[in-house]
Amino acid sequence: MDYFTDSLLAALRLIGSFDAATWRIVGTSLYIALISTLLAALAGIPLGVTAALGDFPGRRALRQLLHTLMAMPTVMIGLIFYGLLSRRGPLGELGLLYTRQAVILGETTLILPIVMNLAWQAVEDADPALATTLKTLGANFRQTASYLAREVRRALLAAAVMGFGRAIGEIGAAMMLGGNIAGLTRTMTTAIALETGKGEFEQGLALGLALLGVAGAVNAFLFRLRPERAP
């Protein structure tokens, strides 16, 4: 047996015997990712739906910006908020650096463009006859947007789930803004980096497998969301 296989087996055994501290790491990860997803969805879905239906100057430029931001390196988000939140930064007085709130702020910013862009896409992909039908029945802009959102709700939920997947799996912002403080801001990704750095490869691998499990569950959920074909 080689090193990797031994470690994998050991990791599987470890998952079965996760202690409270490890479960706390998993909990922190889920908590941060869920709150970030909720915030990003609350802002990103209405913004994306509105932008898709609207006609305003800079619409194309905004779309391009969102595409760019979707590919934004997470350390870049970390770097920017580190600059803003650090003691000497413009928001330093809030004392947010190395707190869960700081990580949530970073993750929300990271996934907001994803959620908004996918919501935009969902509305664009919807049958244009839906919006026309609503208008012919006398719907105003807000009503058109809300009924259309209801029609594409599965795709909007999928957009949020996609954001969640990105938030829970990223490490750059979590490390730079949370500081990997045990029991407070230590997430699965930062813990994996730390354990591996310490030479605790098995512990890292166990957490990695747990992370993979969460990703698998998210994917299974997404798969079930695939829209039924409307007649």
């Binding site: 006859a129 026309t132 039908t133 029945l137 006398g138 009503q143 029609e151």
Partner: protein, 330 residues
């Protein structure tokens, strides 16, 4: 009475293309049934969307019941018109919910809107569908439910894009009854488009014919397609002489009253003379519509006296003549 619509110099084009619609002047009387006829691509749907204030014309002005309509049409004006599109969408929920949707969007309280939705379903003869799920309906049922949804709003103007196209004949008859009643008994203005000219002429108080985005006065019989070359309009089968000033066009129209029928060829000043035989004879009010196969199929409208003198019957040989100046090329 103030006309429902007055359009002046209205044109609309897809990005960078030739105008899909170009109307010098078009009035639509209120409280009547108006048919919009024309071949596919004539601009019927575009015109209906402009009348529904879903599209703003790129040029020209529109008056709606005497009031000029700004390019950015206010919601209150848009809500005075309902358009039933050719492929209307139903939303998740029951048929009744769908029929009540327009009323809900207007803030009508639930008890009243359900009452009105039921009445509208009854009007189109689809009350038995009320509790069904909208997504489970057949194509024809969906069309009826969409009509009920439009009727439930009871707006001053109802526009219908090809309302008969997807329907079997019993349902189509029902739709005819509904729109006729709205126009004639309830004083609503109903405009419907159809590619079926006979139905349009039979049903409507007035027919607006569209060819290549332009309104033409003549009914769309004797409409030929082809191209202008060397002073003549060439269809696939015959050449029609044109006045000297006509240089281009892809459609040619001759009003049926401009066609002269004779047993012998007429004098040479009529440059367009075609020999053929009678294929159909039909009474049309005080006149007689005679179909003549002479390369292309012509339809001539002649007086009863003239018809009697000619002793025409199906199969009889006949000459069709008309002046080059009686043509309209588009």
């Amino acid at each position: 009475m103030t006309p429902a619509y007055r359009l002046q110099g209205v044109s609309w084009s897809y990005d960078g293309l030739a105008p899909a619609l170009q109307l010098d002047e078009l009035g639509i009387e209120s409280a009547g049934l108006i048919a919009l006829v024309g071949p596919n691509g004539a601009g019927k749907t575009t015109l209906l969307e402009i009348l529904a204030f879903l599209k703003a014309p790129h040029e020209g002005r529109i008056e709606f019941f005497g009031q000029p309509v700004p390019a950015n049409c206010p919601l209150a004006t848009r809500r005075r018109v309902t358009l039933l599109t050719q492929h209307p969408k139903l939303f998740d929920g029951s048929v009744l919910d769908n029929v009540a949707l327009g009323l809900k969007l207007r803030g009508v309280a639930a008890p009243e809107r359900l009452l009105r939705a039921r009445a509208a379903l009854e009007q189109v003869g689809a009350e038995q569908l009320a509790a069904r799920k909208a997504r489970e309906l057949s194509g024809g049922e969906r069309q009826l439910v969409a009509l009920a949804r439009a009727v439930a709003l009871d707006t001053e103007v109802l526009l219908c894009d090809e309302p008969f196209a997807a329907l079997e004949s019993a349902a189509a008859t029902r739709v005819e009854q509904v729109v006729t009643r709205l126009a004639h008994r309830q004083g609503r203005t109903v405009v419907f488009s159809t590619h079926d000219q006979t139905r349009g002429m039979a049903l409507a108080d007035r027919v607006v014919s569209l060819v290549a985005g332009r309104a033409v006065a003549a009914p769309l019989i004797n409409l030929f397609h082809g191209e202008v070359r060397d002073g003549a309009f060439r269809t696939a089968k015959i050449d029609i002489h044109l006045p000297g000033n006509v240089r281009e066009g892809r459609h040619l129209l001759v009003h049926p009253e401009e066609l002269i029928l004779s047993l012998e060829p007429l004098d040479a000043s009529l440059r367009n003379r075609f020999h053929g035989r009678v294929t159909a004879v039909a009474e049309q009010g005080a006149q007689v519509l005679v179909g003549v196969e002479a390369g292309e199929c012509f339809q001539a409208l002649v007086t009863r006296e003239a018809f009697a003198e000619l002793h025409l019957a199906p199969g009889a040989p006949v000459w069709v003549s008309f002046k080059a100046t009686a043509l309209r090329v588009l």
